[in-house]
């Protein structure tokens, strides 16, 4: 029943629409058509221009909303820049947020590739963080071992949570768009329950300092080490996120697994004929999506930027949703996703400075939402045009 995110995700990059400028010979003869160089340059310029236009429109609309509610949009944008990159050490903060966003996005790219609509990252992340809290506050041992253990268990937790949706999809034919979505709310409630019970996640009374639902804090040894570069401090997990991105990009583009995943996402039946079992590869992709989201949760916990190494209600702070949006805006291209992740991270870290201008910080959610909407338009338009051309050219020959 579900179609995945594929319908408008045609790659506009290297293999972009060949110009239908010559009629190929009827039968026989291996003629070679080629798009003219100039046509491609003009086409690329069009694309960039379209994107720029949409981005500007989104920013203007946001500015308008700010002005209409009595704020100063220029001050807001300035605060955003200060908070994200201009202020001292802010780049480090932004990188710290970028890490988990990127990891969630990578998992989303994998699920999307397989044609699945996994929108439950927020919940998978929370469960991952919960698993990490449980393990991280309970096992003893040298620091690195604990860190590794909690990260692994966070990935497992996220994968299991996505696994529920996978099982329902491949056993009972329930569309994953709905199950992953519903499971987000269930995850929050489950974590909330866990945070009320000491045998699960709640910290013992002496570690709580009068707060109701809070977990034990991670030992200093069990935290992801920080590194300082050029005056910016951030957890080393950022490097792993970037390395992970390179690895995922390689796996998707160059391996049999990535190839088959792509085939599955485009055409399930053809893929089945060619040896790709939808249930195996699809479930695998869903589990990986959840696993990455869970891992992001573990990193958020042990990295410290999100609650001082403790688990609280509302822990995910919408990193899950935002990471998913990053993947969607990045059009499934890993490199673009890294950049988009940085930008969206910047919006978050910048929003902290916005309050000082007197405008409610939630405005950055609005900016983000408008940006995403705006960025959905160019690919949709280009896809339509490309399809129209290709279909017409094909149609005219049958």
């Amino acid at each position: 029943m579900t179609t995945g995110f594929e319908s408008a995700d045609i790659d506009h990059g290297a293999a972009s629409s060949p110009d239908m400028s010559e009629q190929p010979p009827r039968s026989g003869g291996s003629g070679r058509l080629g798009p003219t160089g100039l046509a491609r340059i003009i086409s690329a310029g069009e694309v960039v221009g379209l994107y720029a236009l949409c981005i500007v429109a989104a920013l203007l609309l946001s500015a308008l909303i700010v002005q209409l509610t009595g704020g100063d949009s220029l001050a807001v944008f300035s605060a955003l820049l200060d908070g994200s990159i201009r202020g001292p050490g802010r780049i480090g903060e932004t990188l710290g947020v970028m890490g988990p966003l990127l990891i969630v996005a990578l998992g989303a790219i994998i699920s999307n590739r397989a044609g699945l609509v996994n929108i439950g990252q927020e919940g998978q992340l929370f469960i991952g963080a919960a698993f990490a809290t449980y393990v991280g506050t309970r096992i003893g041992g040298p620091g690195p071992v604990v860190i590794l253990a909690l990260l692994v268990s966070s990935a497992i937790g996220g994968a299991l949570w996505a696994g529920i949706a996978a099982a329902l999809k491949y056993r009972r034919n329930v569309p994953e768009v709905l199950t992953t979505l519903l499971l987000v709310t269930v995850a929050a409630q489950l974590a909330g329950y866990g945070l009320k019970n000491q045998w699960l996640l709640l910290a013992p009374p002496e570690g709580r300092a009068n707060r109701q639902q809070i977990s034990q804090q991670l030992d200093p040894d069990s935290r992801i080490p920080l590194v300082t570069m050029f005056g910016n401090q951030f957890p080393i997990s950022v490097f792993f996120a970037l390395g992970g991105a390179a690895l995922v990009a390689f796996l998707l583009a160059r391996t049999v697994w990535g190839f088959r995943l792509r085939a599955l996402g485009h055409n399930e039946r053809t893929a089945q004929r060619a040896g790709v079992a939808a249930s195996r590869y699809g479930a695998g992709a869903l589990l990986l999506g959840g696993g990455f989201a869970g891992l992001a949760g573990g990193i958020m916990l042990a990295g410290g930027d999100f609650g001082n190494y403790t688990l609280v209600p509302g822990f995910p702070a919408e990193i899950g949703w935002t990471g998913l949006l990053v993947a969607l805006v990045g059009r499934q291209r890993v490199f673009a996703t890294i950049i988009v992740a940085f930008i969206f991270a910047g919006l978050r870290t910048g929003s902290g400075f916005v309050a000082a201008t007197g405008v409610e910080r939630r405005i950055t959610d609005v900016v983000q939402g408008l940006l995403v909407l705006a960025l959905l338009i160019p690919p949709a338009l280009l896809f339509l045009r490309q399809r129209r051309r290709a279909m017409a050219a094909r149609e005219s020959r049958t």
Binding site: A15, P18, D19, Q23, P24, S27, S30, R273, G275, E395
Partner: protein, 543 residues
């Protein structure tokens, strides 16, 4: 008004007009119903229609003949308002018109009976007939109209039946009723007999004659089959590469001339005539070389296959057959009798309810992804977009799709190997494309089919399933495909040819089976093939 400079159509015979007053909206026999002047349509630099002139006259059946890709389909779309022409004019009953959509064209009295139908299966017959009209929905009035048209033309159907429950022949009736309910003065039939048995085709042509002669309507019959044109039309327009090449009275020409006009050269090879849809009336199989295939080992054995749908319908009903090494077994039958499920089973897409598939004696699991391919079964599916290719992937990727593991080391794809294999296959199979990295959707239908063929043959299968392999291809591509299949058989591949084109089966198959309602109901060697008996079998009558 009637500028006859371009066409060779003579004035109509007299004496066949209606005897009483003509019902409102219809034209008297002999009047020009619709006229296309210098109509052109281009897609990019591809010219689909090139200054086409066409005149449809009331009281006559006008054939539009051309091979796949000649432009007749685009021309018809222009006539019914689905496509806007770039140049040229359309006049209906003497008045210049310009259609914005099919509803607009319908208002001018133009109706089309589509090849692939325009019906919505879960809705009822009367609801389908009412679709596309304007104004308030009036169920009882629509039902009455359906009954009225059914009775008048002998197209019996229950207005409250759900279309999805009806067999194909009945669905075509609904399609015709849907067309007739608007009282069109111009009717277009698009490849109507492709889904009918020979007997049903005859019945259809009788209906057409009735419609035309007794009611003074104008009918256009679009087809790529010479046979059909010769039998059912009064005059014919032949199109080639988007342009009109000849316009004649059918009685003034023979099949050979039509064929020559259609492809632009003298047609003498038997294979070409087959591709053009000429079935020799005196075909007796005696000119077929006798190949003694009995001793050859059985490569494919299908034993008692049964496939049931969720609601208990049998798509395949205890179907059994076998194919020997180097043998071409043709499965003839009208579409919708189980051909598709059969091909799907052999593509690992469906699980059997019961039965077994054996390749070289070894049983193969059904429904397990890739199992059939791994066992040595290659498939050219009926609908390549559905299960043959991945449109969004490149030519090279599609060529490597089934055997991707073979060009990988430790899970990593060897790009160079993939590319060079692709180049080799592109050359060998003469695939016309921008290169191995061209996305598949940029290739024409014929070339996409070559990609499928190349991929399957290059894997050196034991068995090749070819389902409707030449559908939608032009004559040259059909010839190529047919030759390739024959070559493959000579090299020892067992071929199962599933086709609803009798000509193709008669041309290629050593042994002919007929499928009906999910089972094989008849078998004959090519040497003893009998068109009459085949026709009966295809109609479901075991003779």
């Amino acid at each position: 008004m009637a500028d006859e400079a371009h066409d060779e159509v003579n004035h109509p015979k007299s004496g066949t007009g209606p005897s009483g007053p003509v019902p409102g909206g219809l034209l008297a026999t002999g009047r020009v119903a619709i006229r296309l002047d210098q109509v052109s349509k281009r897609y990019g630099a591809v010219t689909a229609c090139d200054e086409v002139n066409l005149t449809l006259t009331a009281g006559r059946i006008h054939g539009v003949l051309g091979e796949n890709g000649a432009g007749k389909s685009t021309l018809m779309k222009i006539m019914i308002g689905l496509v806007l022409p770039d140049e040229g004019t359309i006049s209906v009953d003497g008045h210049r018109v310009r259609f914005v959509d099919p509803t607009d064209a319908a208002r001018y009295g133009i109706g089309m009976v589509h090849q692939h139908f325009s019906l919505v299966e879960p809705l009822r017959v009367w609801e389908n007939v009412a679709l596309g009209d304007e104004g308030r929905l009036d169920p009882s009035a629509t039902r009455d109209r359906v009954k009225e048209i059914s009775d008048r033309y002998g197209l019996a159907v229950d207005p409250d039946a759900v279309v999805g429950d009806l067999p194909v022949g009945m669905r075509q009736r609904v399609e015709i009723i849907k067309c007739l309910r608007r009282d069109p003065s111009i009717l277009i039939f698009d490849e109507p007999s492709s889904v009918l048995t020979p007997a049903e085709s005859e019945q259809l042509f009788d209906t057409l004659r009735h419609v035309v002669l007794e009611e003074g309507r104008a009918v256009a019959l679009v087809s790529h089959k010479l046979d059909e044109i010769m039998r059912a039309t009064d005059e014919v327009t032949i199109m080639r590469q988007g342009a009109v090449v000849r316009q004649v009275r059918t009685s003034d020409v023979d099949a050979a001339e039509l064929a020559e006009a259609m492809v632009g050269r003298a047609v003498s090879l038997r294979s070409e005539r087959v591709a053009l849809g000429v079935v020799d009336a005196d075909f007796d199989g005696s000119d077929v070389p006798d190949t003694h295939l009995e001793p050859a080992p059985v490569v494919l054995e299908i034993d008692g296959l049964t496939v049931m749908t969720r609601d208990g319908r049998r798509l395949l009903d205890d179907l059994s057959l076998h194919v020997r090494k180097g043998e071409i077994v043709g499965i003839a039958g009208v579409e919708g009798n189980g051909q598709r499920p059969l091909a799907d089973v052999l593509s690992s897409l469906i699980v059997l309810s019961s039965g077994e598939v054996r390749v070289d004696g070894a049983s193969v699991q059904t429904g397990v992804a890739g199992a059939m391919a791994a066992a040595g079964i290659g498939v050219i599916p009926e609908d390549r977009h559905d299960s043959g290719v991945v449109l969004e992937m490149t030519v090279a990727e599609n060529l490597a799709l089934v055997g991707i593991v073979d060009i990988a080391r430790a899970g990593v794809i060897d790009r160079r190997a993939m590319s060079s294999t692709a180049e080799r296959l592109i050359d060998e199979f003469e695939i016309s494309c921008a290169g191995p990295d061209a996305p598949l959707f940029s290739l024409s239908g014929g070339n996409q089919q070559r990609v499928v063929l190349a991929r399957e043959l290059s894997r050196e299968p034991e068995v090749l399933i070819a389902a409707q392999p030449t559908r939608g291809l032009d004559v040259g591509a059909i010839e190529y495909m047919t030759n390739r299949l024959r070559q493959a058989a000579e090299a020892g591949v067992g071929i199962l040819l599933i086709s609803s084109e009798l000509e193709e089966i008669l041309d290629l198959a050593h042994r002919i089976l007929v499928i009906s309602d999910g089972r094989i109901i008849g078998e004959m060697a090519r040497g003893e093939a009998d068109l009459g008996r085949l026709g009966l079998l295809m109609g479901g009558q075991v003779a």
